[in-house]
Subunit: 220 residues, 2 copies
DNA sequence: TGCGCCAAATTAATGGATGAATTAATTTAC
DNA sequence: GTAAATTAATTCATCCATTAATTTGGCGCA
């Protein structure tokens, strides 16, 4: 019946052949699909089947390219999660020593990361932040050992110079900073729905966060 | 072989009998075990088997008391999650109209909730905040419709009276407040490990959050 | 230029493990 | 003796992993 709309691929009955090249590397596509899917459903609760279906291939392709699920998630970390987080280090390295500049660099970096990788916040929150998360141990050995401490140390130095509210703990300030940036991003759908507001986009959030950090809630 | 240490229960070979009464209601125990377990592993990724094992009973007991997994999680919401969140409404109702008092009431309520229900923050973050979370829709119909808007409205009223930093958005302030309280609690293990600090308990966090909200980060 | 082969890519089919849900049997308190 | 509570066992579905089969693009070679 010509003219009926068939699913884009999947016309051959058996076997396939060399790279079809019709939409680039399948390996990369699988990683992209997995990032989005894992973000929505969680890693353990997501079947490879679901990923394969969404990528319009057979589950066997995941085995072909990655081996098993563990190595698949490892590849996801190495080739998607860690690169996505790279801007954070860069922005922080470029920022000066003033707490305000540091925080703004952090918030802007997170905003940029979220804009480019919408799947990241929920995945991070679910799999790294929460105990028992699949990515937790792997992330510990790659991110955590350096970034938070470094940032806390810079805050502490600024505090020693009298440039930071002495009632604050530099380490908790880092935690608060993450909470003020990643948390709203991870839960964006719920806030939008709760408040029925679409205008609360990343830019508004960024300005709001900076305003809060600048002067607190007082009417100054 | 007398003297060998056997697992507390599980000595009969088949069948059991009336309520053993040795440690209270099994139904309640199952809910408690599930709250802790779901919090660690996530709802979809946790098998009923694991819960039954931890409660030292057969998986069939879950069917006996609750029917299926869906109704089991429903019961968990009704009998554990919602009651645990009750102090929030009470604290907020008792607080006055000043933003500072509202925020302090919120932060104190969350601290109390977390202290009494350590399993709550990760469960909330994973299953409610994240898209695709199992508890999401159920929570929407019970919590969200009222609490966030009400709080935001009170902040807006205070802002109209000039008692709130005009650069802030009342709704985003609610989001920030949740991020500053629940997020650090949900990720406590990771922060402890990242900073090697055990002294960053709930009280310290509470004071820190209030200090941050009061004056921002400036050295004022 | 054309022909056949080879290897990469992909699929269908299968095996083994695990989980949810249910049922029949059994124990024990009252 | 009876009914509630609990267990063992079973059924059906799903998932991860693997393998054998199959297609097809490209390359050497004439």
């Amino acid at each position: 019946m010509p003219g009926t709309r068939l699913p884009a691929r999947r016309t051959r009955t058996r076997g396939a052949g060399r790279p079809s090249g019709d939409e680039g590397d399948l390996r990369a596509r699988l990683l992209d699909v997995a990032a989005a899917r894992f973000s929505r459903t969680g890693i353990e609760a997501t079947s490879l089947r679901a990923i394969a279906d969404e990528a319009q291939v057979t589950p066997a392709m995941l085995h072909y390219y990655f081996g098993d699920k563990a190595r698949f998630t490892e590849a996801l970390i190495e080739e998607r999660l860690l690169p996505a987080l790279a801007p954070l280090r860069e922005h922080l390295a470029a920022a000066g020593d003033e707490p305000r500049a540091l925080m703004e660099a952090f918030a802007r970096a997170v905003a940029e990361i979220v804009r480019r990788n919408p799947w990241l916040p929920p995945l991070w929150v679910r799999e790294v932040l929460c105990e028992g998360g699949t990515l937790r141990e792997l992330m510990f050995s790659r991110i955590v050992p350096s970034l938070p401490q470094l940032l806390a140390q810079r805050f502490a130095a600024a505090q020693a110079r009298g440039r930071l509210n002495p009632r604050l703990d530099p380490r908790l300030l880092v935690v608060s900073l993450v909470g003020l940036t990643l948390f709203p991003a991870a839960g964006a759908p719920i806030w939008r729905r709760a408040f029925g507001a679409e205008e609360l986009g990343p830019d508004v959030l960024l300005n709001h966060t900076l305003a809060l950090l600048d002067h607190g809630v007082g009417a100054g």
